[in-house]
């Protein structure tokens, strides 16, 4: 029983990407300024919640055809894999490595394995929270 929410839906189409981009930004700057995987993930979820409010569940599931439980599983694997990878280099579990690299497009960039771990956090947060909201919201 959806009414014709033209304004909401139009605004959402625009705002969704702004929030999403902001969440990606927050995620990447986390190591230096406030932000990180957790907040980034939550903001992405917020964007998806906005979509859910403006459109119905089926439309959103069609637009974002991910199984979010698998997303959070991938996130967990990524996080654990990063932590476990260190033992192959004969250093204790959860030892991170970082260095500056010269990349073709970005120039000199500082890369940190903590970022991969944070990406895992991001995926788990998005996957789990969206799973919760979709299942609760989708329940009849």
């Amino acid at each position: 029983m959806k009414t014709n929410d033209v304004m909401l839906q139009t605004a959402t189409k625009l705002v969704f990407f702004i929030i999403f981009l902001f969440s990606i930004h927050i995620f990447f700057v986390g190591h230096y300024t406030p932000g990180g995987g957790f907040v980034g993930g939550l903001l992405t979820t917020g964007a998806i919640v906005l979509l859910l409010l403006a459109f119905d569940l089926k439309t959103v599931q069609k637009a974002l055809p991910f199984n979010f439980t698998i997303v959070s599983a991938i996130g967990l694997l990524l996080a654990f894999g990063t932590a476990a990878a260190s033992i192959f280099f004969n250093v204790p579990f959860f030892t991170h490595a970082y260095d500056d690299f010269t990349l073709p497009l970005f120039g000199v960039t500082s890369l940190h394995t903590a970022m991969i771990f944070d990406a895992g956090v991001y995926l788990v947060v998005v996957g789990s929270t969206v799973t919760m909201i979709q299942t609760i919201g989708g329940d009849k």
Partner: protein, 803 residues
């Protein structure tokens, strides 16, 4: 040979019983079982020579050496006597059971397995030198006795009797274990011999009396002493061979054995002497008094067993006086106790077997229906006559000798000077005499109401006839012993009693021959005990002849005022009452349980805070308060108040959102941007979730809360809040060590290559926490998914245990 292993021989033999029962259907399984006690009996006879010279034999099997626990078979006069009783009467009982139990109708494999386990357990009890293994075997006798009493497990009375005996004897067994542990602590050893050697140092120890009472509780429950005797009459539901073996000759004597064995340790105590002598005498009196009331043959014998056990117990108590006085009469009491123990085992065993024969051949044990069996069952009558006359204490049967010695010992107690015996001692011979009169009455009652007179008019369930030879062999052997002992008492004394006496009183003698007791049937006209016996016979005969008139007096006592009534109501209470108590506090309301938890948390924390004098507030450690902080706090308090007072869910959710946002504001004020960000988003999403989920819930109601509930809630909530505030204040005021945050500040760029300390801590320094927090989050997600998608419980009706 390592003869400690022989204790386990019956159990090992029990392993083969089911096999023999299945494979050899034509032979009664009992014949194979019979071999075991016979072999053991013959083997143990070989030790008589050792013990007669005051020596002992010992054999050890290590079990848990690091804890000082081992199986030790220690054979001295006392344990040898019991061992011979167990194996000897065991052999006779097995022989009897071969003819008593039908091989086609009964589950013989079970019966003999239980019986053999019991035999091992009993051998273990009397031979163990280690208190822990003694306890092990002790409980094994309780368990095997439980199985044997409940042998006919389709009968209600059997199950009731088995449970009752189990409850009472296991209660006593556990108490006894406590006593043993205390003894172990006092003496720093579990070995009984070493404990006896250390015994002088126990006097005055704080555990001494406690250990004494606990050990006695074990002995009293097992030996059916007052007021724990109530299990024994109910245990008569067991097959008669079991009653004859367990409940007259062996298991009920385990308590006597325990008292005798621990006499050297505890006899110095006044409490011991009073308890053992007093309870023994009370049991003697009580048992003999109520034996006359019974109408069931085995019940008469059960009460008579109780009474006779009390007699032996009181003699053991009187024997403990020998540790205080040089008067030879008290040494005499111990001799009398052991002598009567032998006598009782022989005549009571034979009487039980006769009761079984009567039951087997006539189909009833009710004495009111029996009578006039003398001419039909002459052999049984002769045996019963010998047994009962010995029980009544008449010559020329063994009971006469022990009864004389008993009366002499009780008379002698009057002359004992210590422990108030001079004042109260007169009670002992008086009670002993009255009890002896009743013993006389029930002995006559048992034998003459069954065998003499005319047959009752209504026919018996079976046509009575004499029992088969095989069934009569065992009681005849026992009856022969009863008569033989009367004529050779001093030989029995030399072989069995004196070695046992020196085991009970090791400090008084060094060789059995020093026990200067000469049993004589005739003491001359001047002996007071002789005249007491004459009076017993006279008064007893009078009472027996007028019995029909006064036996009705017993019906005055209502059933619910008896000890059985007490036991029943205790059992009823422990089931029903405990159920009520649990139902009272287990309301099934989470509200109630939360009240318990919070009340305890507040009380315990506040009490600790003030008892330990930890409540200190240091004003100097506080930071200055700024205006923004105050304003946010006011908003927060108002929002919390709104949550509490909200009438609808929606306003509560919105107020909760306000709480969350003001907390986020606090994070801003206190310079925590990461937290503020996260808090804001989390709050937004959770409010959205609440709105989504609460849409389906019914309107708020108070779920039956009353004003009083609310007041209690208010008090407890306030108590928890105040306690936590006080703890937080004093924790803030007393920092034990400086914070480690400086390390993070110094190394965040150099070690971790980052700038945001919070995030670097989360993913690098303490990434482990984060790893498992995201695991928690995914579990929560999957759990919600599973909870909502899997609605199995709605189809299958939920099972509520309270319904």
């Amino acid at each position: 040979m390592n003869f400690v292993l022989l204790i386990f021989l019956p159990i090992v033999a029990a392993l083969f019983v089911p096999l023999l029962y299945r494979k050899l259907k034509n032979v009664h399984t009992g014949w194979f079982v019979l071999l075991v006690p016979v072999v053991l009996f013959i083997y143990y006879i070989g030790f008589i020579k050792t013990t007669m010279e005051g020596g002992h034999a010992i054999s050890e099997l290590k079990w848990i050496p690091s804890l000082g626990i081992s199986f030790v078979s220690y054979i001295d006069g006392l344990s040898l006597l019991f061992t011979l009783l167990i194996t000897g009467i065991g052999a006779l009982v097995v022989l009897y059971s071969i003819f008593y139990l039908d091989k086609n109708k009964e589950k013989l494999n079970l019966f003999y397995v239980y019986l053999l386990i019991f035999m091992s357990a009993m051998l273990g009890v009397v031979q163990s030198d280690n208190v822990i293994s003694l306890y092990l075997f002790w409980e094994l006798t309780s368990i095997s006795s439980f199985l044997l009493i409940g042998y006919w497990n389709t009968r209600d009375r059997s199950r009731f009797g088995a449970l009752k005996s189990m409850m009472i004897t296991v209660f006593g067994g556990l108490m006894m274990l406590g006593g043993f542990v205390l003894l172990g602590i006092m003496g720093d050893t579990f070995s009984i011999r070493e404990l006896i050697a250390n015994a002088p140092s126990f006097v005055g120890h704080e555990f001494f009396t406690l250990a004494l009472v606990l050990v006695l509780l074990g002995a009293f429950t097992k030996s059916a002493q007052f007021p724990f005797h109530i299990w024994l009459p109910d245990a008569m539901e067991a097959p008669t061979p079991v009653s004859a073996y367990l409940h007259s000759a062996t298991m009920v004597k385990a308590g006597l054995y325990l008292v005798a064995r621990f006499t050297p340790i505890f006899a110095v105590s006044e409490v011991w002497i009073w308890l053992v002598t007093g309870i023994g005498l009370l049991t003697l009196f009580w048992g003999s008094l109520f034996a006359v009331k019974q109408t069931d043959l085995k019940a008469i014998l059960a009460f008579s067993t109780i009474s006779q056990l009390g007699l032996i117990m009181s003699l053991l108590g009187a024997g403990a006086l020998a540790f205080h006085s040089d008067d030879p009469i008290f040494k005499f009491a111990t001799f009398a106790a052991i002598f009567h123990l032998i006598n009782h085992a022989t005549f009571k065993g034979s009487l039980f077997m006769i009761a079984g024969i009567v039951d087997h051949e006539t189909g009833t044990r009710d004495i009111r229906k029996l009578g006039g069996l003398m001419s039909i069952m002459p052999v049984s009558f002769t045996v019963a006559f010998i047994g009962t006359m010995s029980m009544a204490g008449l010559p020329p049967f063994s009971g006469f000798l022990s009864k004389e010695m008993f009366l002499q010992s009780m008379l002698a107690i009057r002359h004992f000077e210590l422990f108030n015996f001079a004042t109260w001692g007169i009670i002992f011979p008086v009670v002993a005499w009255i009890a002896s009169v009743f013993t006389f009455v029930y002995s006559f009652y048992f034998v003459f109401k069954t065998f003499a007179g005319k047959q009752k008019s209504e026919p018996l369930p079976l046509k009575p006839h004499e029992a088969p030879i095989g069934m009569l062999v065992s009681p005849v052997i026992l009856a022969t012993l009863v008569v033989a002992i009367f004529f050779i008492p001093n030989l029995i004394g030399k072989w069995f009693v004196k070695p046992a006496v020196i085991a009970i009183q090791p400090s008084l003698y060094s060789h059995p021959s020093e026990v200067a007791v000469d049993v004589a049937a005739w003491h001359g006209m001047t002996d007071p005990a002789m005249w007491m016996t004459v009076a017993i016979v006279g008064v007893g005969l009078l009472l027996f002849l007028t019995m029909a008139r006064w036996q009705k007096l017993y019906d005055i006592q209502p059933e619910y005022l008896s000890l059985n009534g007490l036991y029943d109501s205790v059992m009823l209470f422990s089931e029903g009452g405990m159920n009520k108590i649990s139902r009272f506090y287990m309301t099934g309301l989470i509200r109630t349980y939360l009240i318990y938890m919070f009340a305890f948390i507040a009380a315990i924390t506040a009490a600790t805070l003030f008892i330990k004098e930890a409540f200190i507030v240091d004003m100097d450690s506080f930071s200055p308060v700024n205006l923004y902080g105050i304003l946010t706090a006011i908003v927060l308090v108002i929002a919390v108040g709104m949550v509490l007072l909200a009438k609808t869910r929606l306003s509560a959710i919105i107020a909760l959102g306000a709480v969350g946002y003001s907390v986020a504001l606090f994070f801003v004020i206190f310079k925590a941007p990461d937290l503020a960000l996260t808090q804001l988003v989390i709050e937004t999403i959770s409010v959205a979730l609440f709105l989504l989920a609460f849409k389906y819930l019914p309107a708020l109601n108070n779920h039956g809360e009353t004003k009083r509930n609310k007041l209690v809630n208010l008090i407890i909530a306030a108590a928890v809040g105040i306690t936590v505030t006080l703890v937080a204040l004093s924790a803030h005021s007393q920092k034990m060590i400086p914070s480690i945050s400086q390390f993070y500040k110094d190394t965040v760029a150099t070690e971790a290559g980052g700038g945001n300390i919070v995030n670097v801590i989360l993913v690098d320094y303490r990434g482990f926490d984060t790893l498992f927090e995201i695991a928690v989050l995914s579990i929560a997600g999957i759990a919600i998914f599973a909870m909502i998608r899997l609605k199995l419980s709605r189809k299958g009706e939920s099972t509520d245990e309270n319904k």
